[in-house]
Symmetry: C2
C-alpha cells in the first residue's frame, strides 16, 4: 500500500478529502481557469497551432497530473518556453497549418511523455542536473526575447517567421511598411493596459484597502479583462472584416480522442527535441513545485514528478493537445488562491472543458494582437539581464556558460542554445576541476599545522615535499596530478619523499587510481618515495585492496605531522604500510 | 628566447649536442628503423592503404616531431589503434583502393594535425581528460580484438571486410571454406615464431648471459627476422605466383609532395573522426612520453606535445602519409637503446627514407600473412581483460564505463565506442557527485567533535540539525542539496536551525549558490534559520559579496562546535553575520 501510494500520490490525499478542502480547491480552480483560458490560446498560437489545441492541452493533462503528481499546487498546461521549443521542433518536419504539423505536435507530446515517464521509473531525474542554473537562466532570457520578438508581427499585423532573433528581426524590418494600423492600435492598447496593470494596479488596489494577495490576483486576471474587452470591440465593430486578424472559428466541443502517429522516421527526427523539451519542462516544473511545497513544509518527489509530467504529456498526446509542463505564474496563482490538493487542478480542467464547449463562439472574435500582447508581457518578465552581471561577479566560468547559451539561443535557435550551454558547462566544470587548487605546505614553527609555503613563513625540509590537493581525484584531474607531482620531483634534485596530504580528497576514481600507480612507479624509478597522509576512512577502505596500495613505496600516516616527524627521523613508530588494519577507522570516518 | 625555446624545444638540446650523444642517438635510430619498417608496412595495410604510405608516414613526421616535440625519446609513426580508426573513418567516405581513399587519409592527417596544433596553442590539452582511464582501457582492448580479428583473413588468405567484431566474424565464418593453405602455413608459422620469441627468446637469451636490455631488443627485432625469412622464401619459391598474397610492387623513392584536398564536404564528414583520432593519439602518446621522461627525471609539456604531434600529422599529410602518433613499443625500444635527444627520431627518418629508396624491390615479395602475424602479436599484447575485474573490484561505475566502451566498440565500431564511453563516464561522474555522501552529525559527548548520528552515540538537539556534505557544491548536486535540506526540514517539525558544515566543500558554483539562496528563502518561509560552519577561506571570500550572504537568515561559524554552543544558548559571542570582515582569514586559508 505504501508502495502504491508512492506511485499513485492521489491516494495520499484523497482519503482525507473534506468539505473545507473542496471549497478551497474549487475557489482556486475558478481563478486559475480564468487565467488559463487566454494563456492556453496564446501559447497554442506561439507554437503555431490552432487555438483549441491550447484548450485541449489544459484538460486531460490536468487530470493526469492530479493522479500521478506529487506537488499539491502545481498547475500544468502549455507554457511559453516549451511552446517555443515545440514550434522550433515541429516547424522543421512539417509546414505550419498542415495536418502533419498538428500530428507532429502530438508525437512530440507522446515522446516527451514517454521520456519523462521512463526517466521517472528508472530514477534518471539526475540527468536534469546537466542543466546548470546559469544555462537555464541564459536560455530562459533568450527564449523570452525570441518569443517577444516573434509576437511583434501580430501586434503589427504583418507576416514574419523564424525561430531565432536574427531571422525574426530581419523579417520584421523588411515588412514594417506593411503595418496594419487598426491591429497595431489594439495590440499597443492591450500591451499598455497589461503593463500598467502589472505596474500600478496592484499597489493601487492595495492602497484602496484590498489585501495584498487579492490585489495580486486581480492583477493576474487582467489578461482575461483585455481579452473580454477587445473581443467585444472586435464583435461590435466587426474588426475581423476590416482586416484585423482574429482567432476565427474554433470548433466547440470536448477534446477529440486520437492516436499519435507511429512513423519511426518522424520519431527519430523529433527525438532530440523531445528530450530537451522533457528536461527543460521538468526543470522548470520541479523548481516551481519545490518552492511552493517548501512554503507549507511539504515535499515533492522529483522522480515521481517525472512520472506525473510524463502522464500529463501522454494524456495531451491522445487528446489533441501539445507538450505541457508545470507553469510558474499559474501555479503561484493556484497556491495563493488557496488550492490545497491536486483536485484543484482537476476542477480547473472541468472549467476549461466548459469553456471549450460554450465559449468558442466568442473566442472567434478575439483579436490575435491581444493574445500577442499577453504573451509579450508574460515573457518579458522572464528576461533577466541582471543575472549576467551578478553571475559574472561571482564566477567567470558560470557567466560564460550563461552568455554562450544566450547568444547561441538567440542566434541559432533553442535546441542549439541548450546543447551549447550544457556542453560548455560540462567542459568548464572539467576544466576547473582538472586544475584543482593545490599547495606545497610546510610546518608552522612550533605547531602541528601545515600551511602553503608561498603564503606563510613555514619550516620545510629539502628531502621532503608535502603536497595538499584541494579536490577529489578523478579522471578530469588525474593527468594534472601526474604532471604536478612529476614536475615537483624533477625540480628538486635532492628530494627523497613526496607526501600527498588528502584531507580534501572525498573520492579517488579508477582513473586517479591508475594515475597514482603511475606516479608511484615513476617516482620509484626516480628514487623518490610516495606517502599518503590524512586520507579519509571511506577513501582508505577502497584503496586497501588495490595494487597501488601493495606497491606503494612509502607509508600511510594519519596526520601530516606524523609524516613530518617520521620522515625527518624524529620518531619511528608513526604511520604504517598501506593496507594495514588500523587504517579502517583512521582519518575522518563515516 | 625562453619563449622561443618553449615553442621550439629543439633549441633546448641542439646547442649542447656532442659526439657521445650523437653516437647514442645513431645506435638507437638503427635499432628503431629495423623495428619500424615492418610496423609501418603493417599499419598502412591495417588502414587499408598501400604499404609505401606507412613508410612515408615514418619520414617527414619524425623530423617535424624532432623540431616541436618535448619528449626526448618518443618515436612517432603509424600505430595500430589510430590506423584502425583511420580505416573506419575513410572507409565511410571512399571505397578502399580508390584514389579518393588515399586522399581521404591525407585529409584526415591534415585535420588531425590542425586540431592537435590548435588544441596545443589554445592550451586545450585538458579536453583529453574527457577520456577516462577505464574508457581508454576498454577501447584499447576492444580495438586490439577487432584488429586481431580483421587480420585473420590475411592469415587464411580470404576476403572479408568490416569495422566491428560482429561484421568481421560473420564474414570470416562464411568464407572459411575458401582458406588458402600455403598462405595459412606462412601466417601460422610467423605467428608461432613471433609468439615463441616473445615468450621464450628473451628469458633464453638472458640465461645465455645477454643483459636484459639487449635481450629485450633482440626480441623486439624478431618481426624483422620473420619478414626477412618469409620474404626470402616467397622470392625463392615464387609464392606470389602460387596464390599467396604478397605486398606486390612498391614504388621506390622518397615521399611525394602533395596538397591534401580542401573539399569542405569531405572535411565535414571526417571532422568527428579527426577529433577522436587526435584525442586518442594524444592520450596514447602523452602517457608513453610521461612514463619515459619520468625514468630520467625529465618532463614533457602536454600542451607543447599537442603542437609536436600536430606538426607531425601536418607533415604526414603533405608527404603522402597517414595519421600518426607516438607509439608505445617503438618509444620503449628507442629509450632502451639509449636515445638521448629527438635527433634519434630524425636519424630514424633517414633510415626509413633509405629503406623506401632501396628496399622496395624486396618488400614486393613480402607475404601479407607475415604482416598480419606481426600485427596480431602486437595488438594482442594490448588486450587486457583482467583490467575489467580489477576495476570492478575497485569501482562499479568505472567498470561499467569500461565494459560499455568495450561492448559498443566491438559491436558498433571505434567512434561510437569512444563516444559512448565518454558520455557514460560523464553521466556517471555527474550521477556519483549528484548524490554526495552526507551525514547529519551530533556531538561526541565531552568533546568538540561531531560525528554521524547513524554511526556514533552522539548528543543532538531537536531544535538543531547539523548537516555535513562531503563534496564541493556545484550544478550536479545543487538540486540534491535542495531536496536533502528541505526533506530534513519537513521531517522534523520542531526544527529551528539547520547548520551546513562545509569542511569538505572546496568550491560553490553559481548553480549551487542559487540553490543555497532558494534553500535560505524556503527555510525562512518555514521559519527555520540556515547557518554555515567551517567554510573554507576561498569559498567564504567569494560568498561574502553575494545576495545569499546578505539574506542569510543565520550566522557563520568558524567551527561546528561554535555553532553548537551559540545555537544552544551556551555562549553568545560566537559566529557572526555573513559578510563580516573577520571571515576573510577564517576556516582553512590558502
Amino acid at each position: 500500500m505504501a508502495r502504491l501510494k508512492r506511485y499513485l500520490p492521489i491516494l495520499q490525499w484523497l482519503t482525507g478529502y473534506g468539505r473545507d478542502t473542496l471549497a478551497n480547491d474549487l475557489l482556486a480552480a475558478v481563478i486559475v481557469t480564468v487565467m488559463l483560458i487566454p494563456q492556453s490560446l496564446a501559447y497554442a498560437m506561439l507554437a503555431g497551432l490552432p487555438p483549441e489545441v491550447g484548450l485541449y492541452a489544459s484538460i486531460a493533462p490536468l487530470f493526469a497530473y492530479a493522479l500521478f503528481g506529487t506537488s499539491r499546487t502545481l498547475a500544468v498546461g502549455p507554457v511559453a518556453v516549451v511552446s517555443l521549443m515545440t514550434a522550433a521542433a515541429i516547424g522543421r518536419v512539417a509546414p505550419q497549418g498542415s495536418p502533419e504539423y498538428l500530428g507532429a505536435a502530438l508525437v512530440l507530446a507522446l515522446m516527451s511523455g514517454l521520456i519523462l515517464t521512463l526517466m521517472g521509473v528508472a530514477r534518471l531525474g539526475f540527468l536534469a542536473n546537466f542543466l546548470s542554473h546559469p544555462v537555464i537562466s541564459g536560455f530562459i532570457t533568450a527564449s523570452g526575447l525570441i518569443i517577444a520578438a516573434s509576437q511583434l508581427k501580430h501586434l503589427l499585423g504583418i507576416e514574419v517567421s523564424g525561430h531565432n532573433l536574427i531571422e525574426v528581426s530581419g523579417g520584421l524590418v523588411e515588412s514594417l511598411r506593411l503595418t496594419h494600423w487598426p491591429t497595431l492600435l489594439i495590440g499597443i492598447g492591450a500591451l499598455a493596459f497589461l503593463y500598467a496593470s502589472r505596474r500600478w494596479m496592484g499597489p493601487g488596489l492595495r492602497r484602496l484597502g484590498l489585501p495584498a494577495g487579492s490585489a495580486d490576483m486581480v492583477v493576474r486576471a487582467a489578461p482575461i479583462l483585455a481579452v473580454a474587452v477587445t473581443t467585444l470591440a472586435s464583435w461590435g465593430l466587426e474588426l475581423g472584416e476590416r482586416g484585423v486578424a482574429v482567432v476565427g472559428e474554433v470548433p466547440a466541443g470536448l477534446p477529440p480522442l486520437n492516436l499519435p502517429s507511429l512513423d519511426m522516421t518522424l520519431w527519430r527526427e523529433l527525438f532530440v527535441a523531445a528530450l530537451l523539451i522533457s528536461v527543460v519542462g521538468f526543470v522548470e516544473s520541479v523548481s516551481v513545485g519545490q518552492t511552493l511545497a517548501a512554503k507549507r513544509r511539504q515535499r515533492i518527489d522529483p522522480d515521481q514528478e517525472l512520472v506525473g509530467l510524463g502522464a500529463s504529456n501522454i494524456a495531451a498526446s491522445f487528446t489533441g493537445g501539445m507538450p505541457v509542463t508545470g507553469g510558474f505564474a499559474r501555479s503561484v496563482v493556484n497556491f495563493d488562491a488557496g488550492a490545497e490538493t491536486p483536485a484543484a487542478g482537476a476542477f480547473t480542467a472541468v472549467g476549461i472543458a466548459i469553456a471549450a464547449l460554450l465559449l468558442t463562439p466568442l473566442i472567434a472574435y478575439l483579436p490575435i494582437a491581444t493574445l500577442a500582447a499577453t504573451i509579450i508581457v508574460a515573457v518579458l518578465s522572464l528576461v533577466d539581464f541582471s543575472a549576467i552581471r551578478r553571475t559574472w561577479a561571482y564566477s567567470r566560468s558560470d557567466a560564460m556558460a550563461m552568455l554562450v547559451t544566450m547568444i547561441v539561443t538567440l542566434g541559432h535557435g533553442v535546441e542549439s542554445g541548450i546543447l551549447a550551454g550544457v556542453g560548455l558547462s560540462l567542459a568548464l566544470h572539467l576544466y576547473n576541476t582538472s586544475r584543482p587548487h593545490s599547495a606545497v605546505v610546510g610546518r608552522l614553527p612550533g605547531t602541528e599545522h601545515f600551511r602553503n609555503v608561498k603564503r606563510h613563513r613555514v619550516e620545510t625540509d629539502p628531502r621532503l615535499a608535502i603536497l595538499r590537493v584541494d579536490e577529489s581525484l578523478y579522471f578530469a584531474n588525474s593527468r594534472y596530478l601526474e604532471d604536478l607531482i612529476m614536475s615537483l620531483a624533477s625540480r628538486e634534485p635532492g628530494l627523497a619523499h613526496i607526501v600527498l596530504a588528502c584531507q580534501a580528497v572525498n573520492t579517488i576514481d579508477a582513473s586517479a587510481l591508475e594515475s597514482l600507480e603511475a606516479i608511484n612507479t615513476r617516482l620509484r624509478d626516480a628514487e623518490v618515495k610516495l606517502h599518503l597522509a590524512e586520507a579519509k576512512g571511506p577513501v582508505m577502505d577502497r584503496l586497501k585492496h588495490t595494487d597501488f596500495c601493495r606497491e606503494l613505496t612509502g607509508r600511510v600516516f594519519l596526520s601530516t605531522f606524523d609524516a613530518w616527524r617520521y620522515l625527518r627521523g624524529e620518531s619511528q613508530h608513526l604511520g604504517q604500510p598501506c593496507g594495514g588494519t588500523e587504517l579502517a577507522n583512521a582519518g575522518n570516518p563515516d
